[in-house]
């Protein structure tokens, strides 16, 4: 067998790749193709027929663009909120936590170890109308007597922020950790203020982490439906909720499938646009 490998060395990578890539091809690419096929069908359940029905796409956009836009707005706000919450935290862990670093890092990942649905359900308890948080906020007049947190836009975005925060924090931490301490000392010597040192050295060096974190947060957030379902009202429904309902409630597979592709395409456009902005800033900066 060894000699076989020696003689056919060029085959080795393909032998290594083929089982895994075959799995991805059959259970990722082929299903997407089926989804594409579904998206061009017409008719009513249970008899959908393939008719190259491209109008499914235009109708889906015209019927559900509010949810689509809302998904991107919510995901965008949540991504920014994640950045604002996570950056100072991981900065502190990377440069100030000393030998407790790994412990605090563990605290960032800890929510992952509580089942996604259950940690979202826990927010139901925390934000309940009769719960302590709302009581405190009403007592301090931050919230009006009749106002609430649960079933609001705030709750949905806060839920998304909470659930995807680790995706933002970890890549930033990795990029901060790789910064040479000597570089920072040099920066302190060169620039008068620590703020300048941060802006000129630390921030640019952590940029790859921010970019990765932003993508890792934004993409799942835009497709999420759990938070809007559990913490929102009909007015906060996102595109994920529509896809889920079309697939599993109204059995409208063609619309569900076309919405899935529209979501993927929209995310791709957003990511490319983001890449351009990030890229051009780097060029000008």
């Amino acid at each position: 067998m060894g000699s076989f490998f020696h003689r056919r060395k060029g085959l080795v990578p393909y032998l290594l790749l083929s089982p895994g890539l075959a799995w991805l091809a059959i259970f990722f690419i082929v299903p997407l193709a089926y989804l594409g096929y579904q998206s061009l069908k017409s008719g009513i359940f249970p008899t959908y027929e393939f008719t190259w029905e491209f109008s499914n796409y235009t109708e889906a956009v015209s019927d559900y663009h509010p949810q689509l836009v809302r998904s991107f707005v919510y995901a965008g706000i949540a991504t920014v909120a994640c950045l604002v919450l996570a950056y100072p935290l991981v900065y502190w862990i990377a440069f100030r936590a000393g030998r407790w670093r790994n412990l605090f890092l563990l605290a960032i990942v800890a929510p992952f170890f509580v089942t996604y649905l259950i940690r979202t359900l826990a927010w139901l308890n925390i934000l309940a109308d009769e719960g302590p948080v709302v009581g405190l906020l009403q007592w301090t007049h931050v919230l009006g007597e009749d106002e609430r947190l649960l079933a609001t836009t705030f709750a949905v975005i806060a839920g998304i922020t909470y659930n995807f925060l680790p995706f933002m924090a970890l890549p930033i931490y990795v990029s901060l950790e790789q910064i040479e301490p000597r570089l920072l000392e040099a920066a302190k010597d060169l620039y008068a203020s620590p703020v300048q040192a941060f802006l000129r050295v630390t921030l640019p060096l952590s940029a790859p982490g921010i970019v990765a974190g932003t993508l890792l947060t934004f993409i799942p957030a835009a497709g999420d439906f759990i938070n809007a379902e559990l913490l929102g009202t009909p007015k906060q429904q996102m595109i994920g909720n529509v896809i889920q309902a079309k697939f599993l409630e109204s059995l409208d597979y063609p619309t569900a499938a076309s919405l899935s592709f529209i979501l993927m395409a929209a995310i791709l456009v957003a990511v490319l646009a983001y890449a351009r902005v990030v890229g051009s800033e780097k060029l000008t900066g």
């Binding site: 009202t233 697939f247 409630e249 109204s250």
Partner: protein
């Protein structure tokens, strides 16, 4: 080898396993951890009955956590029952099972339950995805109440038998609000803003609103439907309606997050145990009535399922179920049977509705249930 694993399941798992990965497939099939089995259409009564039903829809002994009527059935017939509380929503459950059924395959269930105010009973029968009952094995079918003898989706009761019926009305929490006895109040009283929910099930919510509009839910044309949908949509737009729910209104209602909900009768009777301040009423413009029906899906064992159906149509068994789950039993003689042991429950009109109550209850137009435009419109109301 797991004794709970039937041959059928082994073959299936093995076959499925072979298509992906032969060895682990068989290994896991032998060590399999989930229940399953059943699914034999042959003429003999099987050893196991797989029964899919809604949650909180059968008697449970609080101490032992066992289900007494199922245990008694096993003792009597030697048929073990695997009871799956896996139906939370007609559409969602239908979506899950329709794939295999549409290909003529079984789903490892011998009985499942669908509500007659959804389009699915009609679809199941029309598509041939359910099997005929073996009425020879169900002599107790004579105990079926007359009102249930001939539903539109199955006029001769060849494919289905009712499990329980229930009423849709309004529940409210007296800690939070005074009585909420009309849909008008629920949808338009500013004091309840953001504190009410409606049910996701179209026929429940739209049906009640149709009644509130002074229209008749038995004949739902586009105008009637749209009038009701517009009114509900306006209540969503104004922030009056907080959410559309399945059973999950119950927690928020008892917890006080909600003031009032469109709610099912039996649920509220069960909830009263937790919170005596809950009230339920048929709205003043009328309430809806519906029936959950047992079907035998393709691949299910007809004799086994029929044997079980016969069992639950014994008045004594029906009485036990009615007392435990507080919905309306379709079995004649159950009330008399229950009166012997529990007169209070037997006189509860929410469980045994009297004629006065029945005149206030309406059924949704079965022909309109499958109207695609209505379904699409309703989805848009649910998520704006």
């Amino acid at each position: 080898m797991n004794p709970r694993l039937t041959r059928n399941q082994l073959v299936r798992r093995g076959a499925a396993g072979l298509t992906v990965l032969s060895l682990p497939g068989l290994l896991a099939a032998c060590g399999g951890g989930d229940d399953g089995g059943g699914g034999d259409s042959s003429g003999e009564v099987a050893k196991v009955l797989n029964f899919a039903n809604w949650p909180l829809y059968i008697d449970v002994d609080d101490q032992t956590k066992r289900r007494p009527t199922l245990d008694a059935f096993t003792a009597k017939t030697d048929i073990k029952v695997n009871y799956f509380e896996e139906i939370n929503d007609n559409a969602e459950y239908f979506a899950k099972v329709q794939g295999p059924l549409s290909q003529g395959q079984g789903i490892d269930r011998d009985i499942f339950v669908f509500t007659d105010n959804s389009r699915f009973p009609g679809l199941l029968v029309d598509q041939g995805w359910v099997q005929k009952l073996d009425k020879e094995l169900i002599p107790n079918i004579s105990n079926l109440i007359d009102a249930q003898a001939s539903p539109p989706f199955d006029p001769n009761r060849e494919y289905s038998l009712p499990w329980q019926s229930g009423m849709t009305g309004i529940a409210w929490n007296e800690d939070v609000t005074g009585p909420v006895e009309s849909i008008e109040q629920l949808l338009e009283d500013p004091k309840l803003k953001g504190k009410v929910t409606m049910l996701m099930e179209l026929a429940d919510s739209v049906g009640l609103t149709i009644l509130a509009n002074g229209d008749d839910p038995a004949t739902v044309d586009d105008d009637v439907f749209n009038r009701a949908a517009d009114r509900i949509q306006a209540a969503v737009g104004s922030g009056q309606i907080r959410r559309f729910t399945g059973n999950d209104y119950a927690q928020a209602l008892t917890g006080g997050d909600l003031a009032a909900s469109v709610a099912w009768s039996g649920d509220v009777i069960q909830l009263l145990l937790d919170n005596p301040n809950l009230k339920w009423a048929v709205p003043k413009d009328g309430g809806m009535i519906w029936t959950d029906n047992m079907f035998i899906p393709t691949g299910g064992s007809v004799p086994t399922a029929s044997t079980y159906m016969n069992y639950v149509y014994e008045p004594a068994v029906a009485a036990k179920l009615a007392a435990a789950i507080n919905y309306v039993t379709p079995v004649k003689g159950a009330r008399e049977e229950l009166a012997k042991s529990d007169a209070k429950t037997a006189n509860n009109t929410l469980i045994f509705p009297d004629d006065e109550l029945l005149t206030q209850l309406h059924q949704y137009d079965s022909a309109a249930l499958n109207n695609q435009e209505h379904i699409t419109r309703w989805q848009q109301v649910l998520g704006q």
